[in-house]
């Protein structure tokens, strides 16, 4: 398999959402190595991380996005592809730091103290990672002090706060206030989301943005890029 064929196969596996050789895509005839194995094979063949990302992973995700927009693909398809790309990026990450590729930024996300719901948070993580962001998941029921400490020490570009409950969403405001008190508010963009949260609430607590869902989070962050 030459370089072009290998990248094309990688792209197709992204489109099919096959992370590993054990995964089923949409086309049952497509078997063999998945995105992770092909990414490693490409590196072994001395294909640059830049080409692997731009011609394989990103090109594949663009097709996935088009298929999602035309309703050929559903959210599970988008997530399968994004998760595959996300894990492939983990393989490429050590090499990216040595290259001249600019990172899209570090995004930290947490379900706030008192709330253990994490489906939305996990989906946001997968989609943002698949979109090229470095994502750190701080977990669920995360104390406000721990969030502030993370921002102080790791200096993320973006902080995502998630809550499902009308009671726990108020903690998001506590986090914003704690960041202000620590003199860190201007160092990070704060994004909020979750079933109980709204644009109005986001403005009220002084967050930078409200994200309706994972796709909206990608749009908002990509907006900051430009």
């Amino acid at each position: 398999m030459n370089k072009e064929e290998l990248i094309a196969l990688l792209k197709e596996n992204v489109i099919q959402g096959r992370k590993t050789r054990n995964d089923e895509g949409i086309d049952e005839d497509l078997t063999g190595p998945g995105v992770l194995e092909l990414t490693q094979t490409a590196l072994d063949a001395n294909i640059s991380p830049k080409e692997i990302i731009s011609d394989g992973l990103t090109a594949g995700m663009e097709i996935v996005g088009e298929k999602f927009n035309t309703k050929e693909y559903f959210v599970p398809d988008m997530l399968a592809s994004a998760e595959a790309v996300s894990d492939a990026m983990d393989i490429l990450k050590p090499l990216l730091e040595k290259s001249d590729l600019s990172k899209k930024g570090l995004f930290a996300i947490a379900t706030v103290k008192g709330d253990i719901h994490d489906i939305g948070k996990n989906i946001v993580s997968i989609l943002l990672k698949g979109a090229g962001y470095e994502v750190v998941d701080l977990g669920i029921d995360v104390p406000t002090d721990d969030v502030v400490e993370y921002v102080r020490t790791k200096k993320p570009d973006y902080l995502g706060l998630s809550a499902l409950l009308t009671t726990t969403m108020l903690v998001m405001g506590d986090v914003v206030e704690a960041l202000k008190a620590a003199g860190l508010r201007d160092s990070v963009k704060v994004l909020v989301g979750g079933a109980a949260v709204s644009e109005e609430f986001s403005q009220k607590i002084g967050a930078d943005a409200y994200c309706l869902d994972g796709f909206d989070a990608v749009r908002v962050l990509d907006g900051y890029q430009s």
Binding site: G17, D23, E24, I26, F74, V75, P76, D77, L79, A80, E83, D118, I119, N122, I123, S125, I126, D137
Partner: protein, 486 residues
């Protein structure tokens, strides 16, 4: 059973009275009646004998044999059928309304206009029914009232309009009993001969020979006797109205409708044992404001559930009723009433659920738009009716997924959904869901209806059609070349 002897039935058909008398029923002329009638008291042994000879399984064939309907009185497998015969056709039009407060806000809202049904409406209905996946068979839904439709040519044209535009089973009632031979001859030509029609009865008949309460009607009874002698599948239907033509109590209307249907079935089996028959029940409650039929009343659904259990008691396939609304137009009321009865009656397990598509205004108005919306609802209902299948392999696979996902950071099963999505294992989204906050169901259903009307039609082939026009009197020539031929 007691009702069949006390008070018995009044019979206005002399031949039927004679048949009952010849077979041992107590038949006495009623001197005071005009037209002449007879009091018929049917002994239980005649009814029991009829219940033994009536087939427990009935097949209704179709031009496309894949569309044939197989009914077993002991098996609650439900077919969804159109009908009944509406005088009024409801035509929608969509106007755009702009908000006075915000001129950028626009909505499209349907207006509905009524007119008399035509044979072209019936053709269009059959074409759409052919395309709708959940329509299992056709009962002619429109009373054709064109100027060139007469009492003599109405029956052949209503059957032909349906048969020429759909490959599904076609059932109707006859306007004139003397047209039976023409209609059956037409069906034999289409099916490929007398034997072929017997094996694949592409048409069948509805008869309401017993008018509530407990009266054999002269002309329909005569028609029924002819149908039974020809051995064609036939529905013996009764439509009592609780509060007017039947007792207002649940027990009362059930006892009466059962007596009326059993009396009809008994007569048919006496003239031709083995005649394929459906236990036909259209019980309704009276509206207290008009004394018209209230199909949207909760009691109407309850009566139909009861009747399907009665039919099962006799091991006979049940022709049942659900999905009709009292509302005059597609609306919130029509959705609530029809879905309530659709779900309730379907789950009682009648074999042949008619009136299920597009009927409004207490069964007097038909809306093609509503029929297309109903199809979406029956898709949901049919999904629910699927028999659950859980195999050892499924259990092993599911537990494997549980173990695998518990080891992942995201704890999501999403990737296992994808194959099900493509294999039809996930129920689809509601097809007429509006974008964002808009309620576009009617607009989207109308678009779908228009699309369906542009689909090619699998007409009866030209050679057979020519033969029909040569041999069957009264067929309208404008139906022969109906648009959309392939």
């Amino acid at each position: 059973m007691d009702i069949l002897t006390d008070p018995g039935l009044i019979c206005f058909n002399e031949e039927a009275a004679g048949i009952f008398s010849d077979n041992g029923a107590d038949v006495q002329p009623i001197i005071a009646l005009a037209p002449p009638g007879w009091k018929v008291r049917i002994p239980a042994r005649l009814v029991n004998s009829a219940l033994e000879s009536a087939p427990k399984t009935v097949t209704l064939g179709a031009r496309n044999p894949d569309n044939a309907l197989f009914m077993d009185g002991d098996e609650p497998r439900v077919y969804f059928i159109s009908g009944s015969e509406c005088n009024i056709w409801l035509e929608p039009s969509f106007e755009k309304f702009v908000s006075k407060q915000d001129s950028t806000r626009e909505i499209r809202v349907p207006s509905f206009h009524t007119r008399r049904g035509t044979v072209n409406d019936l053709c269009n209905s059959a074409r759409v029914f052919e395309q709708l996946d959940t329509v299992d068979g056709i009962i002619r839904n429109v009373n054709i009232q064109d100027d060139d439709i007469t009492a003599d040519n109405k029956d052949v044209n209503k059957y032909f309009a349906c048969l020429n535009n759909s490959t599904k089973h076609v059932m109707a009632g006859l306007t004139k009993g003397d047209q039976l031979d023409n209609v059956i001859n037409m069906a034999e030509i289409i099916a490929g001969g007398e034997t072929a029609l017997r094996k694949n009865p592409i048409i069948s008949f509805i008869t309401c020979l017993v008018k509530s309460p407990l009266q054999f009607v002269d002309d329909t009874t005569a028609t029924y006797l002819k149908i039974a002698r020809r051995g064609m599948p036939v529905v013996v239907s009764s439509s009592p109205q609780a509060g007017t033509t039947a007792p207002p109590s649940e027990a009362g209307i059930l006892a009466q409708i059962n007596a009326e249907v059993l009396a009809g079935i008994t007569l048919g089996q006496l003239v031709n044992p083995g005649t394929p028959v459906l236990y036909g029940t259209v019980p309704v409650r009276a509206r207290m404001d008009t004394l018209g039929d209230s199909y949207g009343a909760v009691e109407t659904s309850q009566y139909n559930v009861d009747c399907s259990q009665l039919a099962r008691y006799y091991h006979l396939p049940n022709y049942s009723t659900a999905g009709v609304s009292d509302a005059k137009i597609p609306s919130h009321q029509s959705a609530v009433e029809r879905i309530f009865s659709d779900i309730l009656v379907t789950l009682s397990g009648p074999q042949y659920l008619h009136c299920a598509f597009g009927l409004l205004d207490c069964n007097s108005t038909f809306s093609l738009l509503q029929a297309v919306i109903d199809d979406a609802h029956f898709r949901m209902l049919r999904w629910f009716l699927q028999q659950p299948e859980i195999t050892d392999e499924d259990i092993e696979k599911a537990t494997g997924h549980i173990r695998a996902v518990s080891e992942t950071p995201q704890k999501l099963y999403i990737k296992y959904v994808r194959k099900l999505l493509r294999s039809g294992g996930i129920s689809p989204l509601y097809p007429f869901e509006g974008a964002d906050m808009a309620d576009d169901a009617f607009c989207l259903a109308h678009q779908r209806t228009e699309e369906l009307l542009t689909q090619p039609v699998n007409h009866i082939d030209n050679e057979v059609t020519d033969r029909l026009y040569n041999e069957i009197p009264g067929l309208l020539h404008r139906l022969k070349g109906y648009k959309g031929e392939i």
